[in-house]
Subunit: 214 residues, 2 copies
C-alpha cells in the first residue's frame, strides 16, 4: 500500500497513431492561462493554441477573399504615416499592387514616407505600421523572384498573424465554440500558416493507459 | 506555408521534473468522458482520475477512523446473507474482530452463511456481499501471518474502492471542487491505495514547447 508519491509525467503517455482530422464535436471546457483552449470529445482531450487557431482561420479567409478579389479593408480614422528605408521603398514599389488587392490603401507621401489610409479588416490602428514593415522586410529585395502565390500567401499570413486573438486573452464559452467551429471548417486545421502546430491531442486510450486502467 | 497536417502527439511532450506536491489552487474545467477531471492552475494542466482520487480520500479517512476506533457503519434495511466457502469461513473467524472494528456487523447464520447487518458507510447494499468476499479472499488463509497494520490497510483499501465515485459518473462543478480539495488534504494525493496514479500533469512549459512557443 505504499503509494509512490510521484506525478505520472507525460513521457508515460505517448500517443499512438492520431488522425490528422480535426473533429466537429469538440466541447470546450476552458482555457489554460487564458492562452490554450482545453476541449473534449469521445476521442479524448484536446488542447488548442488559440492564437494560431485563429491565425489559420483568418489566413484561409484572407487568401480566399484575395482570390475572389474581395479583401475587406478598414478605413483608418487618421492616415498612418510610415517611414520607409530605401530597401523598403523598393519593395513597396514592387508589391504595391498586391498590397492594394490585399486590403491596403497606401499612398506615397513625400520622398521616404507612405500614408496608410486603409488596412486589412481586423488590424488595430497601432499595429498597421508594424504589419506593413513586416511584410516589406519579409519580402525583401527579391519581390520579383517570388511567385505571385508565394507573395500572396506571405501577405495573408502576416495579416492573419496580426489580426488573430492573442494569447493571454480570456475567451468566454461562445467565443471558444465559435473558434473551434471555424477551425474545423478550414482546409488545414492542424498547423498555422507558419507551420506551428495548432492542436495537441491526448487520446482517451493513452489517458487510460497512463492511469493504468488498460 | 505548407502546414503539415499532423496532430502533435504527446511523445513530443515529455514533462520535466514534476513536484510530487498536489496543488491547492486547482480550478476544475470539466470531465473527460465523465471519468477524468480536467483542472488548471498557473503550473499547467492536470488530469485527475475521479475514482482513484475519491478512493484515496476514503482510504485515509477509513484508516484514520479505524485508528481512533470510530469507523462509521451504516445499518442495512435487511441483513445481507452471504454464503462462505470453507476457506472464507476460516478467514472470517480469523479477522471477525477486525471486521467489526472496520464498520461491519456480521453474525454467523447457520453453518456456512453469515448475516451482514451493518456495512461501512458509503457501501451500497447490493455491493456489501462483493466487498466482504473480496476482503476474505484477499486476506486468504494467511490472516494470522499478516501484521495488524497490513490487515487494516487491506480492509480500508477495499472499503474505499467500493465506496468511491465510479468512472462514467457526471460530476457538477461543486463536486469536482470538493473532491480536489479533499484530495489536496490527503497525506498521499498522488497514488491510490493500490499504487495506481491519481494525477497526470502537463506543465505549462511543456505545452508551450509542444506548440513551439518556447
Amino acid at each position: 500500500l505504499g503509494g509512490t508519491s510521484a506525478v505520472v509525467d507525460t513521457e508515460a503517455m505517448p500517443t499512438s497513431a492520431v488522425s490528422p482530422e480535426f473533429p466537429m464535436d469538440l466541447q470546450p471546457l476552458g482555457q489554460i492561462q487564458e492562452s490554450f483552449i482545453v476541449a473534449t470529445n469521445p476521442e479524448g482531450l484536446w488542447i488548442i493554441d488559440q492564437h494560431v487557431a485563429h491565425e489559420r482561420v483568418l489566413f484561409e479567409r484572407h487568401r480566399r477573399q484575395r482570390q475572389e478579389r474581395k479583401v475587406e479593408g478598414q478605413r483608418l480614422l487618421l492616415p498612418n504615416i510610415v517611414e520607409l528605408h530605401p530597401e523598403q521603398q523598393v519593395t513597396f514599389r514592387d508589391i504595391a499592387e498586391e498590397l492594394a488587392a490585399s486590403g491596403f490603401e497606401v499612398e506615397l507621401f513625400g520622398q521616404r514616407t507612405v500614408a496608410v489610409k486603409t488596412a486589412p479588416a481586423g488590424i488595430a490602428a497601432p499595429d498597421v505600421q508594424r504589419l506593413l514593415l513586416e511584410i516589406l522586410d519579409g519580402v525583401g529585395p527579391e519581390a520579383s523572384a517570388l511567385s505571385l502565390e508565394t507573395l500572396q500567401n506571405r501577405i495573408s499570413a502576416s495579416v492573419a498573424c496580426h489580426a488573430a486573438i492573442k494569447v493571454n486573452t480570456a475567451l468566454d464559452r461562445s467565443k471558444m465554440e465559435w473558434l473551434l467551429r471555424e477551425l474545423s471548417k478550414t482546409e488545414c486545421p492542424m498547423a498555422c500558416p507558419h507551420g506551428r502546430p495548432i492542436v495537441l491531442k491526448y487520446s482517451l486510450k493513452e489517458i487510460q493507459r497512463a492511469f493504468k486502467r488498460i
